[in-house]
C-alpha cells in the first residue's frame, strides 16, 4: 500500500507515546485518536513495517501489542489487575454501574477504603500499605490506563482490556456450566 507520510499529521506524537508503552485513549488524547482513526490502516501498516503491532480497539483505545513482558510491565500488569478487580467488586457492591467506570472518581478516600476492605488479600500479595495502591495508580497513569486529575484518578477506556480478560478467564473457569440463553438470540433473530 502507498502511505503518504504528509497525511499522517500526528505520526511523531503517536509514535512517541505508543513506543513509550502508553495507551492512546480517545477521551484523553482526542486529537491523536481522531487522527489515528482517520488514517488507521496507514498507521497500522507503517508501524507493522517497523516491527510494532498497533492494536486499535473501537471502544476508544490503542496500543502497541506485544507478548513479551518486561520486568516492569509484568509486575505492574498483575498488580493493576488485582487493583481493578478489587475496585470493580467494591463498586458493584455499592450498586454502581460497572460499565460507566469512566465516571468514577478514584480518590485517596476510596483507595483507603479499598485498602481497609481488602487488606488481607492485598497484604498476601505484598501490597503492604495504602500508599502502595497509590503507586500502582501512578504507574498505571504513565501507561495510559488511568488519568490523574485534581488529586484523584479516573479510569480510561483502556481498562476494557482488563475487563475483557476477567470475563474471559471466568468463562474458562466455568466453561462446563449451562449454555447461554438461547431465547434472546432467537428474539434478536426475529427482529
Amino acid at each position: 500500500m502507498n502511505i503518504k507520510l504528509s497525511e499522517l499529521g500526528r505520526l511523531q506524537d503517536l509514535f512517541k507515546k505508543l513506543s513509550a508503552g502508553s495507551h492512546i485513549n480517545h477521551q484523553q488524547d482526542n486529537e491523536l485518536w481522531a487522527d489515528l482513526e482517520n488514517q488507521r490502516d496507514a498507521y497500522q501498516a507503517l508501524f507493522a513495517a517497523l516491527g510494532y503491532e498497533l492494536t486499535v480497539d473501537s471502544r476508544g483505545f490503542a496500543y502497541f501489542n506485544t507478548d513479551q513482558a518486561s520486568s516492569y510491565t509484568g509486575k505492574l500488569t498483575r498488580r493493576l489487575a488485582l487493583l481493578l478487580m478489587l475496585l470493580f467488586e467494591y463498586q458493584a457492591d455499592q450498586g454502581a454501574h460497572l460499565f460507566q467506570f469512566q465516571q468514577w472518581r478514584l480518590d485517596g478516600a476510596l483507595l483507603e477504603k479499598l485498602w481497609q476492605t481488602y487488606r488481607a488479600l492485598l497484604e498476601a500479595e505484598e501490597i503492604g500499605t495504602a500508599l502502595a495502591l497509590k503507586e500502582i495508580c501512578d504507574s498505571a497513569t504513565r501507561v495510559g490506563f488511568l488519568l490523574a486529575e485534581d488529586g484523584a484518578y479516573r479510569l480510561l477506556p483502556a481498562v476494557h482490556r482488563y475487563l475483557d480478560l476477567f470475563e474471559e478467564l471466568a468463562k474458562a473457569e466455568r466453561h462446563e456450566e449451562a449454555p447461554t440463553d438461547t431465547e434472546d438470540d432467537a428474539l434478536e433473530d426475529n427482529l
Binding site: T66, G74, R78, A81, F88, E125, A170, R174
Partner: protein, 419 residues
C-alpha cells in the same frame, strides 16, 4: 350522574391542579382534604386560603373529585383519571393477556361476518364489522400506549438515583421485558408460533374476500366500503404491531443487555477474586494472559556542556615527555658488517662435505663477530640444496667472545644431486 359538558368545563378551570393530582395517583389511591388544600396552595400561589377552600368545594361539586365510601377522603373521578391519563400518556403497561382476549373477539367477529353474508343479514354484517373495528382500534390504542409506557420505564431506569443499586434501578426494565416484550414477540411471530400476526393476515384476506363476494352479489356500496375500511385498519395494525414491538425492544434491549453484561462482569470478578484468595494472584492470573504493552527505551546522545569541556581539554593537549634511559652497551658500538652471503654459500658448496659447520665457520670466517657467525650458521643449515644433520656428539666451540656447546651440523651434498 356527571354532566359531561360541565365536567369538561371544570377540568379546564382546574387543569393545573388535576394534572398534579393525576401524577400523585401513581403513588396513592385517595387524598386527605388538607393534603389537597396544600397542593392547591402550591399550584395557585396567589389565592387565599378561603379561595382555595372554595376551589376544592367546586371540584367536589362538579364531580372531578368524589368522596370515597366509608371515609371522608377524596378520590379522583375515574373517568377523569382515564381521560387525563391518556392525554398525558400516563399509562401502565398493557397486558399481553388483554391483547389475547381481543384477538379471540376478532376471531368471533370474523365468524359472525361469514354467517351474516351466508344468511344475507346485512344488519349482522354491519354489527360484525363495527365489532371487529372496535377491537382493532382498542388494540392500536393499547400498542400506542405501551410504546409510551416502555419509553417511560426506560427513562425512569436511566434517570433514577445513581446511588441506588443497579439491580433495583433496572428491575422495572427486566420485568417489562419479561412481562411484555417476550409475550409480544411470541404474539407477533410471523411463523407458526405466533397467534396475532397470522390472525391479522387471515382477517385481511377474509375481509377482502367478503367485500369481493358482496360486490359480486350486488350488495350496498356502503357495506362494501365498510368491509374495506376494516380491511385497511387490519393492515394498519399489522404494521403498527411490528413497529411497536421493534421500538419497544430497541428501547429495552440495550438496558437489559447492559444489565446482563454488568452481572456477567461482576460475577466474573467475584469468581476470579475467589481464585486469587485460594491460589494467589500469580497462579490465578496466568502471566501470558495479562494485558501487555510494548515499551521501547529510547537512547539519546546529546552534546552537552560536559562534552565541550572535554573537547577544550583535548585541544590544549600536550604530550608529556618521558625520558627513556640511555641505550648502553656494545650493541650501539657494534659496527655494521658487510657480509657477502653468496660468496660464503659458494665457498661452503666447494668445501662439502663439512663435518662440523660451526667449526668450519669459526675456522674460515673468524674475522666476523660472534653474532654474525651464528646468524650465518643458522642460515646455512637451512639451505635447500644441502643436507644438514646434527652430529650425535656434542662439541664445544669457542668463538671470539662466547663459547657454544652444541650438536653442530654436518653438511653434505643433497643425495639426489649426487645421483
Amino acid at each position: 350522574m356527571i354532566n359531561p359538558r360541565s365536567l369538561i368545563r371544570a377540568l379546564d378551570k382546574h387543569w393545573e391542579a388535576i394534572e398534579r393530582i393525576v401524577a400523585l395517583g401513581q403513588e396513592q389511591i385517595a387524598y386527605e382534604r388538607d393534603e389537597l388544600l396544600a397542593l392547591l396552595g402550591k399550584v395557585y400561589v396567589h389565592e387565599s386560603g378561603e379561595q382555595r377552600l372554595e376551589r376544592l368545594q367546586q371540584m367536589v361539586n362538579t364531580e372531578l373529585l368524589i368522596p370515597m365510601s366509608h371515609s371522608n377522603m377524596l378520590q379522583l373521578n375515574d373517568t377523569v383519571r382515564q381521560f387525563v391519563g391518556s392525554l398525558l400518556h400516563e399509562h401502565e403497561l398493557g397486558l399481553s393477556d388483554i391483547l389475547k382476549a381481543r384477538i379471540v373477539d376478532i376471531k368471533d367477529g370474523l365468524e359472525q361476518l361469514h354467517r351474516a353474508l351466508d344468511e344475507h343479514d346485512m344488519a349482522a354484517l354491519q354489527r360484525g364489522a363495527v365489532r371487529i373495528d372496535n377491537q382493532l382500534r382498542q388494540i392500536l390504542q393499547q400498542l400506542d400506549q405501551d410504546s409510551h409506557a416502555i419509553q417511560a420505564i426506560a427513562e425512569r431506569a436511566k434517570s433514577a438515583d445513581e446511588r441506588m443499586p443497579l439491580a433495583r434501578r433496572y428491575r422495572e426494565v427486566l420485568e417489562a421485558f419479561d412481562r411484555y416484550i417476550l409475550p409480544m414477540t411470541d404474539l407477533m411471530d410471523t411463523g407458526a408460533g405466533g397467534s396475532f400476526y397470522p390472525l391479522l393476515e387471515e382477517a385481511g384476506r377474509t375481509l377482502d374476500a367478503l367485500a369481493q363476494k358482496l360486490a359480486v352479489q350486488g350488495g350496498l356500496y356502503s357495506h362494501q366500503l365498510m368491509l374495506r375500511q376494516v380491511g385497511f385498519r387490519v393492515k394498519d395494525l399489522r404494521n403498527k404491531g411490528r413497529e411497536t414491538l421493534k421500538h419497544c425492544t430497541n428501547t429495552l434491549m440495550p438496558l437489559r443487555e447492559e444489565m446482563r453484561r454488568h452481572n456477567h462482569l461482576s460475577a466474573a470478578i467475584a469468581l476470579l477474586l475467589g481464585e486469587v484468595r485460594k491460589k494467589g494472584l500469580r497462579r490465578a492470573l496466568p502471566a501470558d494472559r495479562l494485558p501487555l504493552w510494548r515499551k521501547e527505551r529510547g537512547f539519546l546522545v546529546s552534546i552537552g556542556p560536559e562534552l565541550l569541556t572535554l573537547m577544550e581539554q583535548a585541544r590544549g593537549y600536550r604530550a608529556k615527555g618521558v625520558e627513556f634511559p640511555e641505550a648502553i652497551g656494545e650493541a650501539s658500538d657494534m659496527p655494521m658488517e658487510r657480509v657477502d652471503e653468496d660468496a660464503i654459500r659458494a665457498h661452503l658448496q666447494q668445501a662439502l662435505p663439512v663435518t662440523d659447520l660451526l667449526s668450519w665457520l669459526g675456522e674460515h670466517y673468524v674475522h666476523y663477530q660472534d653474532v654474525t657467525v651464528l646468524r650465518l650458521y643458522h642460515k646455512l643449515i637451512r639451505l635447500p640444496d644441502i643436507d644438514a644433520a646434527p652430529n650425535p656428539e656434542e662439541t664445544r666451540i669457542t668463538l671470539k667472545r662466547v663459547a657454544i656447546r652444541l650438536h653442530s651440523h654436518r653438511m653434505e651434498t643433497h643425495e639426489h644431486q649426487i645421483k
